[in-house]
């Protein structure tokens, strides 16, 4: 830079010199790039879509499930519970080692290692460490019931139809 020879040392010690400003700007640019790079790599690690069946799916009309039904959809790994006008979806994947639990009279029973759950999915016996999760159930605008396996809700939260 052909600037006229001008003293660059200012009066105050922490006043902004040209050199300091440039250092700050470079530092800001590089740091910003670094942050963006790290961030994108972190985001990139988690796939946005996988080739499994979608986690949000419709299971048909509420009329398809009579009151008192406990219907296990093995392909989707959920059990649809209908009680009067209340509907819920409970996972049928055993919290122990991931077998598909079957619907029994007292609730759920795992065929692999004998874990037992009650009607609401709470553990009553066997090696299972946690209760079966409940999934968000909602009514789609076209009248279908949608289950969203990505959103777990508290046990006992039913959808009223």
């Amino acid at each position: 830079m052909k600037t006229p020879a001008k003293p660059e040392i200012e009066e105050g010690g922490d006043a902004m010199t040209r050199r300091r400003l440039l250092s700050w700007l470079s530092g800001f640019g590089l740091l910003g790039s670094l942050i963006i790079t790290v961030l994108s790599n972190l985001i990139f690690i988690k796939p946005r879509a996988t080739y499994g069946q979608p986690n949000r799916f419709s299971i048909g009309k509420p009329e398809d499930f009579p009151s008192g039904a406990r219907l296990s959809l093995d392909a989707r790994r959920v059990c649809i519970v209908r009680d009067g006008d209340k509907i819920a979806a409970i996972s049928t994947t055993c919290t122990h080692l991931g077998c598909i639990v079957s619907v029994s009279e007292t609730g759920f029973a795992c065929p692999c290692h004998g874990s037992r759950y009650d009607q609401d999915g709470n553990v009553t016996g066997g090696p299972a460490p946690r209760a079966l999760p409940w999934y968000q159930v909602s009514l789609a605008p076209n009248g279908d019931i949608e289950v969203d396996k990505d959103t777990e809700i508290e046990a006992g939260n039913y959808l009223r139809v």
């Binding site: 590089l30 790039s33 909602s138």
Partner: protein, 627 residues
């Protein structure tokens, strides 16, 4: 100092580039669409529960995985078209618009609420629409990318498509091709264009050349069983309009088709994708067996041959898709209106069974009809024996000759592209005036064997033929006919017809003639495509065996004026050389054994005859004398 400024600028450039990449990768258009949908759905929501459910949703890739129809499909269309199944968005703009409900698709209304027959969760989207299901940008997802084989049928035209045809290739009726993948019934109400196309496939005699699994068994043209999988609709359309558009050497005729008919054929062909979803390989095999059985039964019970049945068959089997018969004219193949006066039954039957057996370069396909059917057709054609009503020479020319030789006599009548050898160009004075009149009269009277020129002997009287020839000379040749030059050519080949002579002839042929007449002597040498008229096929036995030695000598030694055949006497060929050549050509077409006891030789196409190697090529590899 300056390095610091550069560093600062550079670091900002890097920051901006990173920012752009980050934005491009993680802020997608579909996220905006979904956010907009959530907002609008929230304002439309009636209950708190609905609102709460919406609040919990965040933009993400929605996908439908369909495994029950052939290869599994991953359709992410609903990522942008997130409202496609939300009936409240019927009047919104795309992409946030409800997929229309339609009774024609089988959707029904229950309690005032539409219910889809084809649920998106079961069928996906691309099964009807085509397009690239995995795509998340409309350019790729809709198949606008010119390399994507299945652009959205009827909605998307690719940039590489012929501009002239692009508007004709849009319209949702093209999707009928995909409906027919499952709805294969012949009379399915939802696919009228497929039905019409199938009907046209038979009406326009496509079945004669092309094979489609379960429909036809033609062998001359390509198999079309899975043509819909191989080609996009623009190819199907253009190839039907003009077969030479994509394949300059195609000899598929250009049929008389309206736009509506081409559309039906395109949709029908697009629906041919090999095995469709309603079939299994085993089911297809069973259907095939059944068809073969049915055909066998039909052959046995075929009615007695009769002219009436023949007339009916000609209608049913669409002979007039190419040929002309009275009023009906396909503008492709010869006129059959006076066939009874031109050909006898033996000729017709041999021609039906194998068209090439009478005209070696005919493009007519072998129709595998029952013998009785062929007899019926020839019986009917025999009845076409009323001489034409034409009186003046001009009328005769226009009525009988112009179809091939052209209105202007230039050999470019409507059928000329499909006849091989092509019709003679009658305006070429150099040719017309170099041949004796006697020869033209001979051709008119007896036809030219091995070509499509029929014998007019019984159709026209001597007097009429003479006037037509005069008409041709006056109207087309125009130049005055001088005295023919007397040429010294022997009447009969003086060179003895034996193996040595044939070998010498072959050597000369390979050295001098193959450029045009081809190594196989079939008239398809490397230069042949640039020459008009095309070089003679010297393996056309009907033609060659009908030409006297004298004419062959004349053509070889003095050339054929008005064609590319030069006068070989100028290039040092002696009369004896020509005699050897003639013996060689005769041997290619000879039906009898050679004098030496050898079978008639065939041209060894692999004969490695180099120019320096003076050794006589081996014609018979099995012979002990051959090295």
């Amino acid at each position: 100092m300056s390095t610091r400024v550069t560093l600062a600028v550079a670091s900002f450039v890097v920051l901006i580039v990173h920012g752009i990449v980050f934005y491009d990768q993680f802020f997608n258009r579909w996220e905006k669409h979904q956010t907009a949908y959530f907002e609008q759905a929230r304002s439309l929501a009636k209950t708190d529960a609905e609102r709460r459910a919406l609040d919990q949703r965040s933009p993400r890739i929605e996908q439908i995985i369909v495994t029950q129809f052939g290869e599994s499909r991953v359709d992410r269309c609903t990522t942008c078209h997130v409202a496609s199944d939300d009936p409240r968005f019927q009047n919104h703009a795309q992409p946030l618009r409800t997929h229309p409900y339609s009774a024609a698709l089988g959707d029904v209304q229950v309690n005032g609420r539409w219910e889809r027959r084809h649920k998106f969760t079961d069928f996906g989207c691309t099964i009807c629409h085509d397009g690239q299901g995995r795509g998340l940008e409309s350019f790729y997802a809709h198949g606008e990318d010119i390399f994507w084989p299945d652009p959205m049928l009827g909605y998307v035209t690719q940039a590489s498509w012929h501009t002239e045809f692009r508007p004709k290739l849009t319209g949702k009726e093209y999707m009928q091709a995909n409906c027919a993948q499952c709805h294969t019934e012949d009379n399915f109400a939802g696919t009228p264009l497929v039905q019409r196309g199938r009907q046209l496939f038979f009406e326009k005699a496509c079945y004669g050349c092309h094979r489609i699994e379960g429909l036809s068994n033609g062998t001359l043209g390509p198999d079309l069983s899975d043509v819909g999988k191989k080609y996009k609709i623009n190819y199907l359309w253009e190839h039907t309009v003009n077969p030479r558009a994509f394949q300059p050497t195609s000899f598929m005729p250009k049929f008389d088709l309206s736009d509506e008919e081409i559309k039906a054929l395109t949709v029908f062909l697009k629906s041919r994708r090999g095995i469709n979803f309603a079939e299994t390989a085993l089911g297809q095999y069973r259907a095939r067996l059944q068809q073969v059985k049915a055909e066998g039964a039909k052959q046995e019970t075929s009615a007695m041959p009769s002219a009436m049945r023949g007339e009916q068959l000609i209608g049913e089997r669409s002979c007039t898709a190419c040929h002309r018969l009275g009023e009906k004219d396909g503008h492709i193949a010869p006129d059959l209106s006076y066939e009874g006066l031109i050909r006898d039954e033996d000729w017709m039957m041999a021609h039906f069974r194998e068209p090439k057996s009478k005209i070696p370069d005919s493009i007519m396909p072998v129709f595998g009809f029952a013998d009785a059917d062929f007899r019926s057709i020839s019986a009917y054609l025999k009845t076409r024996s009323t001489p034409p009503p034409f009186k003046t020479a001009e009328e005769i020319y226009k009525g009988l000759c112009a179809r091939c030789h052209g209105e202007k006599g230039d050999g470019k009548g409507v059928t000329y592209l499909y006849l091989d050898p092509a019709p003679r160009d009658l305006t070429k004075a150099s040719f017309m005036n170099s041949k004796p009149e006697e020869r033209f009269l001979q051709s008119l009277k007896n036809g030219v064997p091995g070509t499509s020129m029929p014998p007019w002997e019984r159709v026209l009287t001597d007097e009429q033929r003479r006037t037509v020839l005069t008409y041709v000379f006056e109207t087309f040749v125009k130049e005055p006919r001088g005295q023919l030059k007397e040429r010294k050519v022997p009447d009969k080949n003086p060179v003895a017809f034996n193996v040595d002579s044939i070998h010498r002839g072959e050597e000369i042929f390979l050295n001098r003639c193959t450029g045009c007449h081809g190594r196989k002597a079939d008239g398809k040498g490397p230069n042949s495509l640039d020459i008009s008229p095309r070089p003679r096929n010297l393996r056309n036995s009907f033609f060659i065996n009908n030409v006297p030695d004298k004419r062959l000598f004349d053509s070889i030694l003095y050339g054929v004026q008005g064609t590319a055949m030069p006068s070989w006497i100028d290039y040092g060929l002696t009369q004896n050389d020509a005699g050897d050549l003639i013996n060689f050509i005769r041997s290619l077409n000879s039906q009898t054994a050679l004098p030496g006891g050898e079978k008639s030789p065939t041209l060894t196409s692999q004969a490695n005859l180099s120019q320096t190697n003076q050794e006589v090529p081996c014609l018979n590899k099995g012979n002990d004398k051959c090295k």
